[in-house]
Symmetry: C2
Amino acid sequence: MEHTDTRESLLDAAETLFSAHGIEAASLRQITQHAGANLAAVNYHFGSKDGLVRAVFSRRLRPLTEERIRLLEQADLDAEDAIEQVLTAFLTPILRVLKESPEGVRGFGRLMGRVFSEPSEEVRKMVFEEFRESIDRYLEAFRTILPHLEEAERMWRFHFVAGAMSHTIACTQMLERFSEGRCTASDPGEALRQMVTFLAAGLRAPSRTQAN
Amino acid sequence: MEHTDTRESLLDAAETLFSAHGIEAASLRQITQHAGANLAAVNYHFGSKDGLVRAVFSRRLRPLTEERIRLLEQADLDAEDAIEQVLTAFLTPILRVLKESPEGVRGFGRLMGRVFSEPSEEVRKMVFEEFRESIDRYLEAFRTILPHLEEAERMWRFHFVAGAMSHTIACTQMLERFSEGRCTASDPGEALRQMVTFLAAGLRAPSRTQAN
DNA sequence: GTATGATTCAAACGGTCGTTTAAAACGCGA
DNA sequence: TCGCGTTTTAAACGACCGTTTGAATCATAC
């Protein structure tokens, strides 16, 4: 009873149009028309536009977080390539979500990459809460496999990992454009390999407190 | 005659409000009121809201590009720390711009970090054009100091550099939040050191074609 | 078949948006 | 002081926004 056709259609249409035009700029009239529903449908099913926004993110983020945690638990933190394993566990789920969302990396990906710098405090807070648990778990894992780093260094570097990921899924077209088609994020496997290689090396950089 | 007080006030107000609420969400009524000007002032001085947007970015981006190129020309690409020099040349100007803009990293920084994933095609195209020259120069420099990488690898890694930078200036509050104040981007020197260390190591990662 | 709750519908509400207009105010050389 | 181009002003324009309403429609259990 929870999930009518209309509900799902609205979520799909909202995801597509939020991605394409931004959350503010996508109007309920566009969304409901794109979904083949009546204008009032959003307020009926989700209470308000804000409720719709929340639902759009929750639908993708909840499974994402679960898979990230599940994969992290499977990683062997004592292995020589523990860093690569943890990075892969962190990055694989988001790439899978993108592959499965209607418009791929151009759809939910762009929306996702944009969300950290969303102007709306509401949206940011919601996404932050949704990520909180997995972030804590991964920071804990990094404490285990990178014990020689200062706490602040670990956080900075995790921040850079998130940045590279976020930028990659949000601005693929930027990369495709100035690489003149040489690089494309439409192949998630290639993007994953490039990211893991680069980020693992960055994480392995000696701590400021160490001798070179 | 080009630069009246009203013009500058409008640019300042627009920058602040675009940063705080987003470009779409900041209305001309808010902007003109914040600037102590009449509602019609924007359309008089800039033709349209789009013209104002363009002017806000140009004002900061043009000097930014010039300084990036100037610093790159001063770098010694044959030095052992050429990578660090080039990264520093790339990152220093943006940190300086942020320090000089009215609200610091919370002002133009947030706007800047958001702009790559701006929904508006217009804005993205403009910023892309504004960056085009410096991007090409830095890619050329990376070709010199990282000749062993495949062209695609170089571009991916430059993309990650841009991502870490963009994420850092756009989402400082995210970092401050889940580090519980341990890390703060309000000290640009610290942010620069952390970025250069991490990114230089990432750039130095062996090419896929190399033996480990 | 009919009653009941869930869903859809067209229409309207008040409000804000970017832009335009025509008059008023200003700055300043002649 | 006058005249003229520049700038500012108040008011209005049409369009679109998110939301609400109350009736119409639907599905289902009795």
